[in-house]
């Protein structure tokens, strides 16, 4: 395969648009977190594609940073989710999250 970055960048754009669609449409906090993971993955794919085009390792270094960011984001987001659920809320509707306290 030749290093054609346009195809990989197009795929990254499609995945990012799908993730954005998920964040906008879904009101369940769990699905919103999953969509954010999809968007982070699309950004990582763009970095790796750029690194492939220029034959540089920097793209994969940025992929590692995105991986660390996604891990921290998932840990904190899921902890907040469990906290909201333990506070007695019957749903995971994002619109009722304004009553978070403490």
């Amino acid at each position: 395969m030749t290093a054609a970055p346009a195809q990989a960048l197009l795929l990254a754009s499609m995945l990012f648009a799908l993730g954005l669609l998920g964040v906008l449409v879904r009101r369940n906090l769990l699905f919103m977190l999953m969509s954010i993971e999809i968007m982070l993955n699309a950004a990582a794919l763009a970095f790796v594609a750029a690194g492939m085009r220029w034959h540089a390792a920097d793209g994969q270094v940025m992929f590692l940073m995105i991986l660390a960011l996604a891990a921290a984001e998932a840990a904190v987001g899921l902890a907040i989710l469990l906290r909201l659920h333990a506070a007695g809320r019957p749903t995971l509707d994002a619109d009722t999250g304004n009553r978070l306290k403490g």
Partner: protein
């Protein structure tokens, strides 16, 4: 424009699985589709000559982070009312506006791809050694910052998740 068969296959799988993630009503089904999408993305990284990124995608993303999501779904115990409510939320009326917005973003990004750099010859595999040399050479400060970020995430997740069942939280 050269279409590469394995890349095209994995790209189709990734886009299809991602679409299924966004449209499922049951959380665990969406999670399984998300694992499929992440594995397809790992295969794409391997095709693009980044085997280290592919292996990390499988181990950290499809392994660790997805297991975290599965544990949370188990603890939340989402039942039938949630499923019914999600089904009432996934109506065509709620999809139109965000769908148009996402399509506009995709059109803008695809339009910008006309200025993508030209092809750069055959794919060169960038192995773990080169990534490690770059990571602990010019990017060593970013490694330290990432460790700060992970420590902050650990502390805040511990603080938020403490006393999650009891009422004696300070």
């Amino acid at each position: 424009m050269i279409l590469n068969a394995p890349f095209l296959l994995f790209a189709l799988v990734a886009v299809w699985a991602t679409f299924m993630v966004v449209t499922r009503a049951v959380a665990i089904h969406a999670l399984l589709y998300l694992v499929v999408a992440l594995l397809a993305l790992a295969c794409i990284f391997d095709v693009l000559g980044a085997p280290f990124a592919a292996i990390l995608e499988v181990i950290v993303y499809a392994g660790a982070i997805m297991v975290l999501f599965v544990f949370v779904v188990m603890m939340l115990n989402l039942g039938r009312p949630d499923r019914l409510r999600e089904n009432t939320w996934i109506t065509p009326r709620t999809w139109v506006g965000p769908g148009i917005l996402a399509a506009l973003l995709l059109a803008a990004l695809a339009d910008a791809l006309a200025m993508a750099p030209p092809d750069g010859g055959p794919v060169v595999v960038i192995d773990t050694r080169q990534v490690g040399l770059a990571l602990y050479g010019p990017y060593v400060l970013m490694v330290e910052l990432a460790s700060f970020l992970l420590l902050a995430g650990l502390v805040s997740a511990f603080r938020i998740g403490r006393h999650i069942r009891g009422e004696d939280a300070p």
